[in-house]
Symmetry: none
Subunit: 201 residues, 4 copies
DNA sequence: AATGAATGAGCCTTCATTCAT
DNA sequence: GATGAATGAAGGCTCATTCAT
């Protein structure tokens, strides 16, 4: 059996990496193509060969990272054996992923400059839709069984992940120890579960 | 009795208002000075007279709005009569302020393009420091008395305001009814209190 | 007998003085009205009241200084008792005037940016014409008598004043002692006389 | 044998030529980049690619022309066989160079707007220093031998080249015949020699 | 005569993008 | 796939000038 995977050429990856650094240091719009060229070692022409435009590069980066994060998140949900395991598992999964992808996370979660991409890019819409659909189905089952409270989607998201996201945000803005995020897992997972558990849980 | 207040010239305010609209519709960097001129009725020269540069304008706007929000938040804390009243009051105060200042809130809370200002502007540092100091002192008293759990500042912030901030964010991204935020107050305030209350509360 | 002289208001003079400093430090075109305002203590309005425009100010300054220099120069010529006294007297007069008006001299003699004024301003044309006419008449008399060589006007100017002007220029570019210019008088006056004296002198 | 010379790209030279024309017609600061673009056929981008800024362009032009003139001048001095030949040869060399490079000369010698460059640009300082050093050494030899008078460097420069420079200046301001400058050579060379020759010459 | 806030035309410069090699 | 010199549209900003007080 041979995996048929379109390998990302090393040049392409180097460009993505360089772009990420630059975008974080300043802003997407404040980042000059030239800076990405400097850091990546690629030529301007190559950047345009792979990504078509600066916006295309920012979008590509956003989509790839978001897809990775979503996959990780959904996986935690799908493999969970119970309501509690799912709720807390998602928290842990998020924290672990952020810990392992700090820069990518800062890019994807903090940059409302990227809201524009959200609105425009079908790939992003698809990703978000899938996340929403899978999570909703998962929730619905447990809500019907009384293991999780019945709440509006928005309130769910807030009670479930709000504290975790805020903690993550603070941790990224003022990084301390490397295990920072992982250490906070139990407290945040517990709080999430307490906030959304149903009467029959 | 006459209040001696340095009035903001109406021109200046008009520029700030116009800038806010433009910044939200696009991005700070995608906003052209000319658009602000159009909307505000001021001349380019006046904009530069008051703010020195486009960046200066974005910064000024950020600082003024942040100061207003912080003042509102701290006021809720200072006038609270109990631990619970303080914790829930801050949640309500935030929601009320956002409801009354939707655009300003979208600008200040969503725009991580502005993270750059955070790093650079001393005025912002001062505002955040005051917020942190006052909140810490207030908390310390109640923590000692066992009315509030003992947690790291970061975990406090996450458990206390995380859900509220996330809810706010979602509400701003996809606005529904006008009372949206106020209606959610009880649930969010209660969740916050449950998450941080101490054993002797 | 009462001299009817329109006194220059002190404000006006202050503006001229400030302008001179600024023009020398940078360039006329690189000098901002605001800088002149700063240095002079006058308001922008006042500057425009007296001079109409920045160009007007530069021109006014140029004309006034040139007139003063020319008067000084011609006076030396007119009062001279002999060919030699005239030739050397003009050299001395120039050196003395420059020594006493170093900044004014740097402005008027070095600034080919001001060539434009030469071409445009009738007052300057009149001044130069008078200088040329008087000097020519004076020369013609002595040339006819064989006391001064017969040369083209251009060659006269070069042999007579060239060395003096060059010395002056160097002295202004790299000022040394205050008496620098005066001390050089005898050598330059002698050289001038040797260069233009006729056979029967 | 092949000369390995870094050729100036034709585009670059075209820009320099166009700039010279424009600078002379108006002023450096009154010249618009767009005018240089028009005349040179290059794009704005190219101008900035080669020279970085309008000031950079003016400076580069100044330095290159000055270097050419200095080389020409020093060559005359170095190849001279006697004191008299050196003194008169420099005069001739200057006149010939100006006759062959009228526009360049007008730019470099008349534009005291460029004094600013003198103060700022190290390359100019280096050129002037070399000129001064070589000329001084050459002079010293002949002064010691009594073939040239002992004078301060400044007085040398004035007596030697003053008349020539003044004549050149007048000729450039009001051009007459093409041979104007060359025709004046004998008179100016002779005057220079008489002014600086020593007793034993 | 004096003031200085307000104006806005104009210009320098940037920087994403192209394309011939 | 890779290169980087050349392009030129676009926009931030300056600064001389005006004018109501």
């Amino acid at each position: 059996m041979s995996a048929v995977v379109t390998e990302t050429p090393p040049r392409r990856q180097a460009i993505l990496d360089a772009a990420l650094e630059c975008f974080l240091a300043n802003t997407v719009s404040a980042t000059k193509i030239d800076a990405i060229r400097d850091r990546s070692g690629a030529s301007v022409g190559s950047i345009y060969h792979f990504f078509g435009s600066k916006d295309g590069l920012a979008t590509q980066l956003y989509v790839e990272v978001l897809a990775d994060h979503h996959a990780n998140y959904l996986d935690a949900l799908r493999t969970s054996r119970s309501a509690k395991a799912g709720v807390t598992g998602a928290v842990y999964a998020h924290l672990r992923w952020v810990a392992a992808n700090r820069d990518r996370a800062r890019y994807v979660f903090n940059w409302r400059e990227l809201e524009v991409i959200d609105r425009r890019e079908p790939a992003v819409a698809a990703l978000n839709e899938e996340l929403y659909r899978v999570a909703s189905e998962w929730l619905a089952r447990h809500v019907r069984a009384g293991r999780i409270r019945s709440l509006s989607p928005r309130m769910f998201q807030a009670l479930w992940m709000g504290a975790t996201l805020e903690y993550t945000r603070l941790s990224m803005a003022h990084p301390t120890s490397a295990d920072d995020l992982v250490d906070a897992g139990d407290a945040l997972a517990d709080a999430a579960w307490q906030a959304v558990r149903g009467r029959r849980a």
